[in-house]
Symmetry: C2
Subunit: 344 residues, 2 copies
Amino acid sequence: MTMKQITLRSRPVGSPEPGDFALIETPLPTIGEDQILVRTLWLSLDPFMRLMLDEKPFGMAPEMAVPIGAPMPGSIVGEVIETKSAAYAVGDLIEVRASWSEYVAVSTATPGLRKVCVPAGVSPSTTVGALGMPGQTAYAGMVKVGRVAAGETVVISAAAGAVGTTAGQIGKILGARVIGIAGGPDKCAAVKAVGFDDCLDYRDPDFASKLAAAVPEGIDVYFENVGGDVTRGVLPLMKYGGRIPMCGFISLYGEGEESAGPDQLPWLLRMMMFKGLEMRAFTGAGVGGAEALEKLGQWAAEGKLKPVETRIEGGIAHAPLAFSGIFGPNRALGKLVLKVAEPV
Amino acid sequence: MTMKQITLRSRPVGSPEPGDFALIETPLPTIGEDQILVRTLWLSLDPFMRLMLDEKPFGMAPEMAVPIGAPMPGSIVGEVIETKSAAYAVGDLIEVRASWSEYVAVSTATPGLRKVCVPAGVSPSTTVGALGMPGQTAYAGMVKVGRVAAGETVVISAAAGAVGTTAGQIGKILGARVIGIAGGPDKCAAVKAVGFDDCLDYRDPDFASKLAAAVPEGIDVYFENVGGDVTRGVLPLMKYGGRIPMCGFISLYGEGEESAGPDQLPWLLRMMMFKGLEMRAFTGAGVGGAEALEKLGQWAAEGKLKPVETRIEGGIAHAPLAFSGIFGPNRALGKLVLKVAEPV
């Protein structure tokens, strides 16, 4: 019996293209002692995965690089269909870091393997979204690193993304005024519908002046997801002593270590200096941890947090196109998940 | 009766030169109610003053720019020689932000005006050094922002400077292993004599590998005074979750907002991201505050902290040359003060 799987065909130059990946037919994995066979229901597609497609992934151990011809790594939500572990029963839903495959064999000792636990009425796919790693990231950035307080002004870039849509809702739960930044009027309208107080279009030629008008007293916390021109527009509006939780830099993921000049590093350092800014990079799992998952689940159960997802249908074969779309101008609202199969 | 004063003749391009300043003879100021006339004994010469010599001082209010022809601003330690205030007596020693002048008239309402209070045997000039603003900066960076703990490894750039020599001694008081970075073997020897565990010469062609060998377990805290190539050498050696108190960037003070490419900003952001770094800019007065002055005075009285100063003789006329020297390769060890006059 065979299954479909996506492998890396060639290393992307800049943003990934569907042609960088290959769809193969391969035998179904078999399982040994303390393993489970899992049928993939949902595949998570995340911007940071781009980094592992370089031969030398910047800042990561070299073995994190996906070898050419190897299956693409990715988090999945799946259903146990065969078990050789007393801890997992057939029919259990689990989340695990696995691959872009219709079926995966998982050792029960795999770090991060967990059973799906979502409130009634919430899709299991949110286990890789607002109630999973992207949610932890939003929580860590807003609560632990950003230390957002009631009455403060928070600006969130990539507001329409998986992290951004969750971070904005957390900001409102914390009592802050929350301004999003997103690309295009439709995206901004969607961000406002999620609950943000306002949203500004970074493609608008008057972006900088409109942002300044939207934060007359300055910005207490800037949740950084983007880098580049957006950051350049935001930093001059920070209050003295402002905080910048740094989640990621989607605008830079396809670039090398150095970009064409001019060198903007002196600008950043001076801006930090004269505004007494604090920037801290973090990961959701490391900083948000179990506390984040608990709080997010509680807010979702109370109806205060509504996970925002875009679900793509069509099975594993659509993964390359869906993943490449993250880096284009029309990326999905909220967490992007690919529906691989229906539960049995 | 006249006095000597230094004014700004022309705006420096890059590092300041003595010819950018003028020595003038001008009438002694007279004082009104609640003012004191002060005879300057010591003039403080600090790198950050370079920033106010630009027409539009980056990140500061435009009125912070020193106008062409105006007296150069600077902190002084002086002796009250005439008083129209009940709070100040003739003979009192004070510190105040004033100008490069032999005499200054000071309103007693001037923010930051304070009486000199140093332990017995310590020079009053340290009131603008290790027991003043540079000391507050060192304290803020090591204790409040860097949160240096016993057993940690701390690297301090511009280790031979006013802030660096104080920060290094604070690091030893806190029980940390302290590595300095300075320019040239003589400067490094002097830094080690101050109490640093080691000091590396950034001009050494093998600087990066020697630094790596000196911190086999990585760096917990990097006290940033420099920017540029030194920062580029240090950041890859930071431990995950390391802290970077940012005091200033002497290597950038003569540069415009943007420098020639390549753009090193993406490099910095990725490095921060993958090492989960925290960078925070701060000022000594704002973050160190009164707590810093109290602690520094106590350590000095106990003999644990020995202020490091270079004293230049020769009166106010030497200020332009002494100030320009800060930006050259052979700048002074510790805090640079110009002796303007002997106390009466």
